[in-house]
């Protein structure tokens, strides 16, 4: 019995390896090392971000379907509630089928996935979820500049997206906004999970100025923000703060990251 299980696991992991090789790094973009000033906090100290690889596209329904076929424990009916709430993959017809909408959304970002599921997906690709700092750093790029901090039109893109209801069908990942690094859809497609999504210092009532007030966002005045123009970025931090790891949301997807070889060697 134990022997059978071991054989099964070995077979299963070798098939995972194939998947990992298929997705590979070809669909990833290189994000160069650098620094950025996060919007929170009164300090204007830049935060360093080591160079890393980031998926060019958010994970699609088709890609996630392939994953759950090979990892049945992440299928709709089999996933444990501890790892995903009851809305997990609710836009799919069944465990191994997207259903009638497949033609419209196969290439669209997968949504209604929990942090645990996203983490497992990335790990099974030999990757990981990006950190908040990595994600925010990569998302600061406009079409033409790696750092669009002072570009008001760039912020307007965020505002317009945040204030529009979700479309009935999310567009294919390749059709969304492509930034300086060749990464698509960081702004204007879906919210995305990050590895440390719950590290933001936003409290449940965003107006408090308690003991840790300097690091909290006073949502009304945003008085501690370093860059008031990027007011809309508060919404990403607020959104992440409202999540727990088993939550699934109808416009929350994810993409994977990978440390560079240099980083891995340093560890």
């Amino acid at each position: 019995m134990a022997r059978q299980l071991l054989i099964f696991l070995l077979l299963w992991s070798s098939s995972l390896l194939e998947t990992a090789q298929q997705s590979g790094t070809a669909a990833m973009a290189r994000i160069k090392s650098g620094t950025f000033v996060p919007l929170y906090g009164s300090e204007k100290e830049p935060v360093a971000v080591q160079g890393f690889q980031l998926d060019k596209y958010p994970v699609t329904n088709a890609e996630f379907l392939a994953f759950v076929k090979q990892n049945p424990q992440w299928q709709k009916s089999k996933v444990k509630r501890l790892f995903a709430d009851q809305n997990y993959l609710r836009h799919w017809a069944s465990d191994a089928s997207i259903g009638a909408e497949a033609a419209k959304i196969s290439n669209s970002p997968v949504i209604n996935v929990s942090w645990f599921a996203a983490k497992a997906y990335c790990e099974c690709q030999g990757k990981r979820l990006p950190t908040v700092n990595e994600w925010e750093y990569a998302a600061l790029a406009s079409e033409t500049k790696p750092d669009a901090t002072n570009d008001e039109r760039f912020y307007q893109r965020s505002l317009e997206w945040y204030s529009q209801p979700n479309p009935q069908y999310l567009p294919p990942v390749q059709k969304s906004f492509r930034n300086y690094y060749g990464v698509f859809g960081m702004i204007g497609l879906v919210w995305e999970w990050t590895a440390d999504f719950n590290s933001a210092m936003l409290v449940v009532d965003a107006r408090g100025t308690g003991k840790n007030g300097e690091q909290q966002f006073c949502g009304g005045g945003s008085s501690n923000a370093t860059d008031l123009k990027n007011y809309v970025a508060f919404m990403r931090y607020a959104f992440r703060s409202s999540l727990k790891a088993n939550y699934t949301v109808g416009n929350l997807g994810f993409r994977c990251a990978q440390s560079t070889k240099a980083q891995v060697a340093r560890r």
Binding site: N71, L82, D85, Y162, N166, S222, Y237, T248, G250, L252
Partner: protein, 491 residues
């Protein structure tokens, strides 16, 4: 190569075992939601449980008739919806219950409220709620931070009677409020409010769109305008015209009308007024103290007022923010249509319209009307005619009617050698004045010619007139020549 492949497989195996491990450890967990509901229902068993009736504006739930406290379950759903802000103008409103303002909540002092906040799965953002009727951290906001597709529950006891605003307090707070996330909760005093015939729910809010007032299409939020507190729209009940025409509030003559008035802001305070009515009674700031016979009542952002009046005579009464440009130019207009018999002793209507002839009537001029522009000469004859008028008004007193001057005091213009020798110099004298001694026709003059306030056109005309009279050399002076001569003959 082979070795690294095996290592890789072992790594993945480790991950697989890890996954299997965490999966096995979760079978006896209950969800957070289940816990919350159990906690919510286990308290205050002695109180009867009532599901709150919530109403969309401008309606309010029926007055509370029970004489005892209850446990009231309020279920409020957050949705993000595109709705009309003005004709042809759409906006993405974030709402409590699908409308702006949100659903009206009516409870009684000392009720215990079990509050459920549901954030619709299609929402893009997390939301929470701060009810000013709550005594406790964040007014409930600290307990209701809700991701899309989730529901949070908390309960509170309504200690104070009054009309209270509720609103979303998720960062960025200003933007959530500016998108319409506010409403009213009435905590009736234990003895209830006095009976009236009609009750309505009216709430003002200011909106900030990228385009100007009336610019068509789905308008995005404008952060800059919001920070500058310069709204594109100021409206009652979420859109221009929400209370106009077919949507007007109604009453019959003789009925008493109570308006629950709120102001969501986020920025402006309201000077709430009903044109043609006097509020018999105002519960100032939605509190317990009443003021009588009020024309306009101030409703702070995040505040309220209850106004009451009797609809004495029929007609259409206009609700406005009496900060009046907001009313007629930004949308803060509503209507109350009162139907029923006339009461001529209170208001006669128009009795007469006749022509009015005030005593000593003269031609009236609008104070801001522009003075008529001076006539411009089209030819030499007109120039001579106009120039004569200038001469009579400005020059004749000193130089005399025939240009003969006054010996020893004012030099002659007639047959003047000084004048005819250099016309440009003479233009300069008119334009700039002249002080000091000059010799004209052999006589010395030492007096002051004042600088005259004449236009170039007037100088050209008067100069032409002088040159063509009293034996002078003739010719025509143009405006262009005046301009040039003025510049080169400064005195």
């Amino acid at each position: 190569m082979k070795r690294s492949s095996i290592t890789r497989k072992l790594q993945l195996l480790a991950i697989a075992i890890y996954c299997a491990g965490i999966l096995g450890a979760c079978s006896t967990q209950t969800t957070e939601a289940e816990k919350a509901l159990t906690a919510g229902t286990s308290s205050s068993k002695e109180l009867p449980v009532i599901e709150a009736e919530l109403t969309a504006p401008p309606l309010v739930p029926a007055p509370i008739t029970r004489k005892h406290p209850a446990k009231v379950v309020v279920r409020l759903e957050v949705t993000e919806v595109v709705q009309k802000l003005a004709d042809g103008v759409d906006y993405t409103f974030w709402t409590f219950g699908g409308s702006v303002p949100g659903k009206f909540i009516r409870i009684r002092q000392n009720d215990e409220v079990e509050f459920h906040l549901m954030n619709h799965p299609d929402s893009k953002n997390p939301h929470n709620i701060d009810l000013h009727a709550v005594t406790g951290p964040g007014g409930g906001a600290a307990s209701t931070f809700t991701a899309p597709g989730h529901e949070t529950v908390f309960s509170f006891k309504a200690l104070n009677p009054g009309l209270y605003v509720y609103h979303c307090a998720t960062a960025p707070v200003g933007m959530h409020i500016a998108n319409g996330m506010y409403g009213l909760i009435l905590v009736e005093p234990e003895e209830g409010l006095p009976k009236v015939d009609k009750e309505y729910y009216v709430m003002q809010g200011d909106f900030y769109t990228k385009g100007g007032f009336g610019d068509a299409g789905l308008q995005p939020f404008d952060m800059g305008k919001a920070l500058d507190e310069n709204p594109t729209y100021v409206v009652f009940n979420g859109s221009v015209g929400a209370l106009n025409g077919d949507n007007a509030l109604t009453a019959k003559t003789g009925e008493t009308v109570r308006l629950f008035v709120g102001n969501g802001g986020p920025n402006l305070v309201s000077s709430f007024h009903v044109i043609g009515e006097i509020f018999d009674k105002v519960y100032s700031e939605g509190g317990s103290k009443t003021n009588l016979n009020v024309q306009t009542t101030l409703v702070p952002a995040g505040g309220s007022a209850i106004t009451e009046f009797k609809a004495d005579v029929p007609g259409t009464y206009i609700l406005v923010d009496h900060s009046i440009f907001r009313a007629f130019n930004k949308g803060a207009l509503g209507m109350l249509k009162v139907e029923g018999p006339e009461y001529k002793d209170i208001y006669s209507g128009q009795i007469m319209d006749k022509v009015y002839l005030p005593e000593g009537a003269t031609i009236q001029e609008m104070p801001l009307a522009k003075a008529p522009t001076a006539p411009v000469a089209a030819n030499k004859d007109q120039r001579l005619a106009l120039g004569k008028a200038v001469f009579v008004q400005n020059c004749q007193a000193c130089h005399q009617a025939e240009g003969q001057g006054i010996k020893g005091a004012f030099p002659p213009l007639a047959k003047s050698d000084y004048l005819n020798a250099d016309v440009d110099r003479s233009i300069g004298v008119i334009a700039h004045g002249l002080e000091g001694q000059i010799k004209v026709n052999g006589e010395l003059y030492n007096s002051t010619m004042p600088k005259l306030k004449l236009t170039d056109e007037e100088i050209a005309n008067v100069m032409t007139f002088i040159l063509n009279n009293w034996g002078n050399k003739g010719g025509e002076v143009t405006t262009q020549q005046v301009a040039k001569a003025k510049a080169s003959n400064k005195h």
